[in-house]
Amino acid sequence: MYRSRASGVSAMILLVGACTTVANEAIPDPATKLDETVFRCNVEPILVRQCSYNGCHGNPAGPLRVYSPGKLRANRPTNIDDAIAPLTEAEHHANFRSTVGFGVDLAVDDNPLLRKPLPAAAGGFEHVGGAIFSGNSAGTSDPQYIAIHDWLSGKGVCK
């Protein structure tokens, strides 16, 4: 009788001991980990040249939305001069914010910005636009891959 009561009390103590407070803390803003100046120098030109087309990432409905002259603009242009004007500061910053949202807590090599556009043989996957870093079979020596990799690694330098 006493033994079973003691067992019950022990079980209760164990259950109470399992209680814990789960913090619902916000994750750090990924933008604070990555250099926007280096992004503008080394990464944004790649995205604008390779990815910003209307059927690709120049589409506001898709992930990694990229603004660029002559294609997608933050404010709907009323004439072609507005459409092809250089990017505004707000658009540059929006491109940065759109890009840093990709898997910042992942290992750099696993970041979708790098992995998805690789050739399938090099680990690329599910990129509707196919292999973009296709300078060689590995893709990882493609200058564009290296530039983005360096930026994500915090090693990029704005020349």
């Binding site: 944004e44 030109p45 604008v48 040249r49 390779q50 910003s52 087309y53 209307n54 059927g55 690709c56 120049g58 660029s68 002259p69 002559g70 294609k71 009323t78 004439n79 072609i80 459409a83 092809i84 250089p86 990017l87 399938a120 690329g124 996957f125 599910e126 990129h127 509707v128 636009g129 196919g130 292999a131 973009i132 296709s134």
Partner: protein
């Protein structure tokens, strides 16, 4: 000069109007201007097979492409080392902005009131089997290849600064064909593919505000295989049964006809037709095309754990079980 028709391949596309009405734009810095940074999406592998449809989206695909050469044996016997060929890219079934064609160059900013132009364009490059650009491209002036010097500004074809591709120059409106010259590489290069894409522009939105845009246009793209003269025939395509190209299509039609002729009984012939139609449904899905298939919503049981929970709740509340296609739940564990 007589140009012989050699290859006619048409594929559908999508997109907006002539976003790059002048060929020079293909070389402009896309960060500073409305340029492409040296890219002309010809459909070649080095550009991930992208064509003008990356911008000109949602096109009906009603137009076609024809590639012609002054020496028709280019497409039958193959290319000969260092031989120069006069090629012509033809936009077939031009329909977008066709009502503007009659005005010719009498349109645009210089006309008062403004009149929209029928602006069409193309891009072409030649690749070897490894995807490398081969040979040399030059424009044509007065029916002669511009092998030296600079072509005049009103030439209809422009070569990219790095020489890798030919595009429209945009000097004239209503164009549906463009002439250029291609000099084949030295011997031993093997099979070459001509990647070509065309845009049928509709004149923007018809106003001075947007003389060009990327909507309401049409796009077509194709790849024309050209063997090396005297070399062994290239190996057949493997890895799937959706091989493109007229040669494969002709072979498929030949097989179908042969089977139908061989089968004389009506029921057997019907069965043969059904079997062949089923075989035609076979397609090789590339990894990058599997995104939709990989989506959670495409699976019958996207989350087995969630199914188990649903089953458990159903058992508890309704005293019944089953129907979710998964195990789990059990008795006495409410």
């Amino acid at each position: 000069m007589k140009l012989a028709i050699v290859a006619s391949i048409v594929l559908g596309g999508a997109g907006v109007a002539a976003a790059f009405p002048t060929g020079q734009q293909f070389d402009l810095d896309p960060m500073k201007e409305d340029g492409a940074g040296g890219i002309a999406f010809t459909g070649a592998p080095r550009w991930s097979n992208h064509t003008c449809a990356v911008c000109h989206t949602e096109t009906p695909g009603k137009i076609g492409i024809r590639l012609e050469a002054d020496k028709p044996e280019l497409f039958t016997d193959g290319w000969r080392p260092n031989q120069q060929y006069h090629l012509r890219v033809v936009l077939e079934n031009d329909w977008a902005g066709v009502a503007l064609k009659a005005a010719g160059d009498n349109c645009g900013f210089s006309i008062e009131p403004y009149k929209a132009c029928d602006q069409n364009g193309f891009a072409l490059e030649m690749n070897d089997s490894a995807g490398r650009v081969v040979g040399k491209l030059v424009p044509v002036v007065a029916n002669a290849c511009v092998n030296s010097g600079t072509a005049p500004p009103d030439t209809d074809v422009r070569i990219l600064t790095d020489g890798t591709a030919a595009t429209h120059n945009g000097a004239h409106m209503g164009m549906t064909s463009w002439d250029l010259c291609w000099t084949a590489p030295g011997s031993g290069g093997g099979a070459i593919t001509a990647f070509v894409t065309v845009v049928d522009g509709n004149g923007g939105d018809g106003t001075l505000a947007f003389p060009t845009n990327a909507t309401g246009d049409d796009v077509a793209a194709g790849a024309v295989p050209i063997p090396e003269a005297g070399a062994a025939a290239p190996p057949p395509q493997t890895g799937g049964c959706n091989a493109g190209g007229d040669a494969d299509r002709g072979l498929a039609i030949g097989i179908v006809l042969a089977v139908l002729l061989a089968v004389r009984r009506r029921r057997a012939r019907l069965a043969a037709v059904l079997a062949l139609a089923t075989a035609a449904g076979c397609v090789h899905v590339r990894p990058r095309q599997r995104e939709t298939l990989a989506k959670r919503s495409m699976k019958f049981a996207p989350d087995p754990a969630e199914d188990e929970l649903d089953l458990h709740m159903q058992e508890s509340r309704e005293g019944s079980s089953g129907g979710y296609g998964s195990s789990g739940g059990g008795c006495g564990c409410n």
